[in-house]
């Protein structure tokens, strides 16, 4: 098992930093472009949510991001000290089939994460949100 752990600040510019770290980790471990895309998108959506909606104060907070690469899956864990928020409880948007006039703008980020990842688990421990996401490598195309 290969592990990459990083800590970022609650600043939207940090998303680029963590994405780059993950891309290097993926390259070293020969993960396919497809896996990199799906994971980068999930990182982007989730961290954007935490930073945009998770904090009531203007202080600096730390978010821990951990990647665990196993033979047949990649596990991603996000730990933040923001407000309690369980994305698994968030209902999927009901408007996916609606015509363009009726579709509300937004609400797609977490839905995309749930669709792209195979398992999403949430727990609140010691005033921290711990979100664990797993992506299974279903066939051989996860490596280059």
């Amino acid at each position: 098992m290969k592990v990459l752990t990083a800590h970022i600040r609650n600043d939207l510019r940090e998303i680029g930093t963590i994405t780059e770290k993950f891309e290097n980790f993926a390259k070293d471990n020969k993960l396919s472009q497809r896996i990199v895309y799906d994971i980068s998108l999930c990182l982007d959506e989730l961290i954007t949510n935490i930073i945009s909606y998770g904090y009531d104060d203007k202080k600096t907070h730390e978010i821990e991001v951990k990647f665990e690469l196993h033979e047949k899956e990649l596990k991603l864990t996000l730990i933040d000290d923001g407000k309690a928020f369980d994305p698994t409880k968030k209902e999927d948007p009901e408007h996916l089939q609606h015509a363009v006039e009726d579709r509300p703008i937004g609400g797609l980020g977490i839905y995309l994460v749930k669709k792209l990842m195979d398992i999403v688990k949430y727990k609140r421990v010691n005033d921290k949100n711990i979100l664990t996401l797993t992506k299974f490598f279903k066939n051989s195309n996860h490596r280059i």
Binding site: T48, A99, E101
Partner: protein, 111 residues
């Protein structure tokens, strides 16, 4: 991101280069929305060099589609990479937009 703008007749083409995410969707918004509000009705967005799109980018495209629907305008997306097409499908965006393989087909449809 880089946005290359071109006008042929009454058709405006925007080539999107790079990433369309929370950081960059404002750049496209600043170009696209004033054109729509200014009365332009025919748009092609070329995704050949678009490497990434997140929900922030999708949100902007939906906003543009809504505005154009009200103005009786049209927007066509072309040359979309497979993984971006899949994001469109998951999001339920495929029926909202006309998506074609290349710019020539898009131009034919709008002329």
């Amino acid at each position: 991101m880089e946005i290359r703008q071109d006008k042929r007749g009454d058709i405006i083409t925007l080539d999107l280069v790079g990433r369309l995410d929370a950081n960059t969707s404002g750049e496209l918004e600043a170009v696209l929305i004033p054109l729509i509000d200014g009365g332009e009705k025919k748009f092609i967005l070329d995704f050949s060099d678009l490497e990434y799109i997140s929900s922030a980018g999708l949100r902007l495209l939906l906003l543009a589609a809504k505005k154009l629907r009200n103005n009786k305008g049209e927007i066509i997306l072309c040359s979309m990479k497979d993984f971006i097409k899949e994001i469109f499908e998951i999001s339920g965006f495929t029926p909202i937009f006309t998506i074609v393989d290349n710019k020539e087909t898009a131009l034919d449809k709008l002329q």
